[in-house]
């Protein structure tokens, strides 16, 4: 039996844990407000809020794509659909969407309502930029987004005077008419649910965010035993010591991106990882999952290669080993991970003095699109501006996320325009991209060349003129 709260109701069901939440709310719970429009996390029409109990018993809400969210993974959580918002009259978010005519056909609208409500729950200071980030996975084909942006702007203005304290956020939002009152009783009701345990037999498929897994093989997963890593609190840790940022294998991209540790030690990642996917996917997808996915173009893989990260792998029997990330990728979609093994931790060395990290990605659309080519550079210079160390990675140009080797000759050279021009030539000549739906081989080779030039412009401070 699987128990969770759906809006105001307690649900106890016998659904397969691998069936997706979207189907449950529409077909079983009879709540048709949540829409299906792509089933791949690409459009946001099926966005719901998932409130998961945190360590202190408070509920942490995140907007998620319910089409890729296994029901088993919301056990013990509070799921909010559009039907769970309006009680007596519209909520503030709903009212502003109406006032600004930020909806035409209406099919994407419930998802937009939920994403904006999620923004109200998670934004530290109700900044408009956060509202747009929160909506970056909610497509709309009718409005051209102009009225949606106006509604978001009005929302931020309305929220600005409110108390920003995250500890009392739910109460603040209830008071402001963003959330219905029953949200106040949710922590208590969640505490009354069975605590899900991390138990699954041999052969259970490990599910982290599931945002790619449930695109690739949803039917198979519905019939498979699953083990949800979101239940492993020990994997949700993030801490930094003198030398290393240690990221638990269950940390989501959004929690990673917005963590104080990343903001302090790798500030550029906060914006770089916005390019990884959309908010409703970043709220589920994990940094480790992006590595295990083994896509030759994974943004996290490319970044972690340049950052010289190491992976702590833990086997089912508790055996641990460490693998440098550049040896983790063995071939196309092949990784050094045994059956039952998982990435428990990602160890990212802090940047030594004089070191810069820079990430480049070009995709057809900037947000929520797979790169044609992406590349990361970690560059250490001495005081004279000469290259002391460089690690350069590139995706989309080989069967694996590639750490470019053979660049020792650049050590000791000045990090200037001429050096980067030559680096670009060397690197572009060294790769063998293929024609595919992301672009022609000729384009990808040229693009990698250009991205190395762009790295140079960025790290040498020559902003494009």
């Amino acid at each position: 039996m699987l128990s969770f709260l759906l809006n105001q109701r307690r649900v106890d069901c016998l659904q397969p844990p691998g069936s997706v939440l979207l189907d449950f709310v529409r077909e079983v719970a009879g709540l048709p407000g949540t829409k299906e429009a792509c089933r791949e996390g690409e459009c946001g029409a099926c966005t719901v809020l998932v409130g998961r109990p945190g360590r202190d018993g408070s509920i942490e809400y995140r907007a998620c794509a319910s089409c890729l969210l296994p029901v088993g993974d919301v056990e013990g959580c509070h799921v909010v659909t559009v039907e769970g918002l309006a009680q007596a009259g519209l909520t503030l978010v709903q009212r502003l969407i109406v006032e600004h005519s930020a909806s035409q056909c209406g099919f994407c609208t419930p998802g937009i309502v939920l994403s904006l409500t999620g923004f109200c729950l998670t934004s530290p200071d109700f900044a408009e930029a956060d509202a747009l980030d929160a909506l970056d996975g909610n497509l709309c084909r009718c409005t051209g987004y102009v009225p949606i942006r106006r509604a978001a702007h009005a929302l931020c203005e309305a929220l600005a005077p409110l108390d920003h304290d995250p500890a009392t956020r739910v109460a603040t939002l209830v008071q402001a008419g963003v959330l219905p009152e029953y949200f106040l009783s949710i922590p208590e009701r969640i505490a009354g649910l069975e605590v899900p345990t991390d138990e699954a037999g041999e052969g259970a498929v490990l599910v982290a965010g599931g945002t790619d897994l449930f695109v690739q093989r949803p039917e198979e997963l519905e019939r498979t035993a699953l083990r949800f890593l979101s239940r492993r609190r020990d994997l949700a840790t993030l801490r930094v010591d003198e030398e290393t940022l240690r990221v638990g294998g269950g940390v989501t991209l959004e929690d990673f991106r917005t963590s104080p540790e990343v903001r302090a030690h790798f500030p550029s990642l906060t914006t770089d990882l916005l390019l990884h996917s959309s908010a409703i996917l970043r709220n589920r997808a994990t940094l480790a999952g992006n590595l295990v996915n083994a896509s030759p173009i994974g943004d996290a893989s490319i970044l972690l290669l340049a950052l010289d990260a190491r992976l702590v792998l833990v086997a089912r029997d508790g055996g641990r080993r460490e693998v440098p990330v550049d040896r983790f990728f063995k071939g196309y979609k092949q990784i050094d991970l045994a059956c039952g093994e998982l990435i428990a931790e990602i160890l990212i060395p802090r940047l030594p003095p004089g070191t810069t990290l820079h990430f480049e990605k070009v995709s057809n659309r900037t947000i929520l699109d797979i790169a044609a080519v992406n590349s990361a550079l970690r560059l250490t210079r001495d005081e004279a501006g000469r290259i002391v160390d460089l690690r350069l990675s590139a995706g989309g140009v080989a069967p694996v996320p590639l750490l470019l080797g053979g660049l020792e000759g650049f050590i000791g050279r000045p990090a200037d325009r001429a050096t980067f021009a030559e680096l670009a030539r060397v690197v572009a000549a060294a790769v063998q991209p293929i024609d595919d739906v992301r672009g022609s081989a000729a384009y990808k080779r040229l693009l990698l060349h250009q991205l190395v030039i762009a790295h140079g412009r960025a790290v040498t401070g020559e902003v494009g003129r």
Partner: protein
């Protein structure tokens, strides 16, 4: 007034087809479609699917009791293939099962024995082999052969524009419910109540009065639910044969892979101007990439032809248009319906001749802009075009010369980034070019409690047509719009309706509603005059305003509710049906002359982009536009149509790209087809509705607004081109869409790279 559906939408309470509670015993259908682009169909093995768990039936062409045909204009599109397949995704069989997963799984067990034949995937190759739909059409005026001698400058070139996926959020779907005595009701997501109604009856082999087609609203359509009836007819067939409710819902991947798109075009153009830049002659050939069946392609092509001269005065013109029959899914209607393509070609030609002359394209556009007394190539002389008024109002607001100077100054001082600017005027003919479709009817019922229900043939798809109709009714009846409910679109209330398309939904159905309401008002005036019994007060002295009967403009005690209740008791008919046919429209294709449009929609926009020359990426930063919307029934709705149409046009011009593999299979999937998102849209969109514009040709002086704003999106292509030309002018213009890939290759790629200049 805002769209009345908004409050429902934000609560997720608006009901789309798949939100209707599934009826007891409902079955679910899934299509099995051709895996081969072209071939002889020798056998279809459905036994394993029929025996699969949960499967109730597998239907093929053999099960069709009536006509196995859903061709929209020409009878060239079988519902289920019989002995040949002509595109990947062509329906071969329908699996009906007790659940959708069961139907989908069983469909995978079907195998087709097909002898593959050579498929043609390139429109030019198709034309060279004589594979075209219908006949080529040529529009000409003046003396195009003789005019070249007078030209001071001539430019020519070839270019392409790509296809575009509608990406309506609600995919194709319908729910069919069998009734008594062999009747059937279909609740569908469709823009074409009249035509789809006919197709259902024809396929089932029953009279149309046994079929009811009902439409509440669509989760977007943009033309994609206008002409291909397969997804409405197929579940109806199953429900009719099995006597059970049947639902068919396409998954996104299936919808993307098997439904039609906006047509890609290939263009060849040649333009000549005098020394000052006045256009003397324009010649072009349009090759339309139509796909395997004619569908609605010939109508789209005709509209491209009629808009070949764009917003310009062209005294000598010859444009030939061909609809090329290739082995891809039949393309269909998409917002703009051929006008974006026709306009794109002349805009490119003018931009090119300006470059040849070394003058700004904006100057040539202004010089040649349509004005009163100009005659369009098909013989219509314009009385009061507002093209120049829109242009001048925009110029007054943004100072186009100054904007150009600022861009030029930026480009002089920047190498890694460049700005680009383009002005695009819009001239868009309003009416169905197919004259017969310019008709609509409305049924208005007043109930004894004073509430009013209106039924028309218009389909609500987010564009706000129902709100506009409610406004027309309320205004005409003199009551609060809240008293009016626009009912579903239903063939039992409004028969033979034209599709809601060509931007005419509110024009035609609004006018029919106005007439029906006017009839009711005159009945009520007559009754009120008797009922009030004031000496000397006749029907002409009575009016209804704000829900109160007025005499000589002064309010009486008699309120609307009392009036209608009393009228009903006095045996006055409170129901009225009326009809509207747009007057004075006609077109003779044999001579390509006529007056196909009741009026024209005009506008002008200026688009500015910032190009990153290192990465090939760009931002469409700002669009300012002035559009003539007449006297809008709802300014909020009309602005929404402009904002939405504009971004769809920008998407077509930039990001939205579809690739078909050599096997005729669409390689682009939902994760590689990118429509604009919230961060892609221009940070600045400034919209002005032209002031003091009257339009006697549409209801309440309003103007059609659905499609024309799409054309402004061409500005994104032209502004990017402007930025590219600031870097280099030694190559042909790249084709549309200008994806980051195409831009980077145009900037830095090898010169001979043809893949970047051919739209596929």
């Amino acid at each position: 007034m805002r769209n009345t559906d908004l409050t429902l939408h934000v609560q997720g309470a608006s009901q789309f087809v798949d939100d209707i509670p599934t009826p007891a015993g409902c079955l679910h259908a899934a299509l099995f479609t051709s895996p081969v682009a072209r071939g002889r169909l020798r056998a279809l093995h459905t036994e394993a699917a029929a025996a699969a768990p949960g499967v109730v039936a597998v239907l093929t062409h053999r099960d069709v009791p009536g006509l196995n045909q859903v061709g929209h204009v020409l009878p060239d599109q079988p519902l289920f293939a019989v002995d040949e397949v002509v595109y990947v995704g062509q329906p071969l069989a329908l699996v009906v099962a007790d659940s959708r997963p069961a139907a989908l799984q069983a469909a995978r067990l079907i195998t087709a024995e097909i002898d593959p034949l050579e498929a043609v995937l390139d429109p030019l190759e198709a034309a060279a082999r004589g594979l075209i739909h219908g006949q080529p059409r040529t529009l000409s005026c003046g003396d195009p052969d003789g005019a070249w001698a007078q030209c001071a400058h001539v430019a020519e070139g070839t270019i392409a524009s790509g296809p575009q996926e509608h990406f309506y959020f609600e995919t194709q779907r319908a729910l069919a419910l069998p009734g008594e005595l062999g009747t059937i009701k279909v609740v569908a997501s469709s823009q074409s109540p009249g035509t789809f109604h006919r197709h259902v009856a024809e396929v089932l082999g029953i009279p149309q009065h046994c079929v009811e087609l009902e439409i509440r609203r669509l989760g977007g359509a943009f033309g994609g639910k206008e002409s291909t009836a397969v997804w409405v007819v197929a579940p109806a067939l199953a429900a009719f044969l099995l006597k059970r409710p049947v639902k068919l819902v396409l998954g996104r991947a299936e919808d993307l892979a098997t439904t039609g798109k906006r047509h890609g075009y290939r263009y060849r153009y040649r333009i000549g101007v005098d020394a000052e830049g006045r256009i003397l002659v324009y010649e072009a050939t349009f090759h339309q990439h139509a796909g395997a069946c004619a569908d609605i392609s010939l109508a789209v092509l005709g509209r491209s032809l009629l808009h070949a001269s764009g917003s310009y005065r062209i005294p000598n013109l010859r444009v030939t248009a061909l609809s090329c029959r290739t082995n891809i899914p039949p393309n269909n209607a998409f917002r703009g319906f051929g006008v974006p393509q026709g306009t794109f070609a002349i805009e490119v030609a003018l931009t090119r001749i300006a470059e040849v002359m070394g003058v700004p394209a904006t100057r040539l556009k202004r010089l040649n802009l349509l004005t009163a007394g100009d005659t369009l190539p098909y013989g219509v002389t314009l009385a009061q075009p507002t093209a120049i008024r829109c242009w001048e109002e925009l110029d007054r607001q943004v100072d186009l010369d100054r904007r150009h100077e600022r861009v030029a100054e930026y480009n002089r001082t920047h190498a890694d980034t460049k700005r680009g600017l383009a002005v695009v005027p819009v001239c868009f003919g309003i009416s169905f070019a197919q004259t017969a479709l310019n008709q609509a009817s409305a049924l208005v019922n007043i109930y004894v409690d004073g509430s009013v229900a209106v039924s028309t043939g218009a389909v609500e798809m987010g564009q706000g047509v129902n709100t506009k109709i409610a406004l027309v009714a309320a205004r005409t009846l003199g009551i609060d719009p809240a008293r009016v409910r626009v009912d579903t679109t239903d063939t039992t209330r409004v028969p033979n309706a034209s599709p809601t398309s060509a931007s005419t939904g509110a024009d035609l159905n609004g006018m029919a509603t106005l007439r029906a309401c006017a009839t009711l008002v005159s009945r009520l005036q007559e009754f009120a005059a008797r009922h009030l019994g004031r000496p000397g007060v006749g029907p002409g002295d009575i009016s209804i305003r704000d829900g109160v009967v007025h005499v000589h403009g002064e309010p009486t005690e008699l309120r609307w509710e009392k009036l209608v209740a009393a009228a009903q008791w006095a045996r006055i008919d409170l129901s009225s049906h009326d009809f509207y046919a747009t007057p004075d429209v006609y077109h003779d294709q044999t001579v390509e002359r006529g007056r196909p449009f009741a009026y024209y929609s005009y506008g002008t926009s200026v688009t500015e982009v910032l190009l990153d020359c290192v990465r090939g990426t760009y931002a469409v930063e700002a669009v300012d536009l002035v559009h003539d919307a007449g006297r809008p029934l709802s300014e909020t709705i009309d602005r929404g149509q402009i904002e939405g149409g504009l971004l769809q046009g920008i998407g077509w011009a930039t990001l939205e790209q579809l690739r078909t593999g050599p096997d005729g299979r669409l390689r682009t999937t939902v994760n590689s087809y990118k429509i604009p998102d919230i961060k892609f849209g221009p940070a600045h969109v400034g919209i002005t509705l032209l002031a003091n514009s009257d339009n006697p040709y549409a209801v309440c002086n309003s103007k059609a607004i659905g499609e024309p704003p799409f054309i402004h999106g061409i500005g994104a292509y032209l502004a990017l081109l402007d930025a590219l030309r600031a870097v280099r002018q030694d190559r042909p213009f790249p084709s549309l869409p200008l994806t980051p890939e195409r831009v980077l290759m145009a900037l830095h790629g090898p010169a001979e790279d043809e893949s970047t200049s051919q739209g596929r």
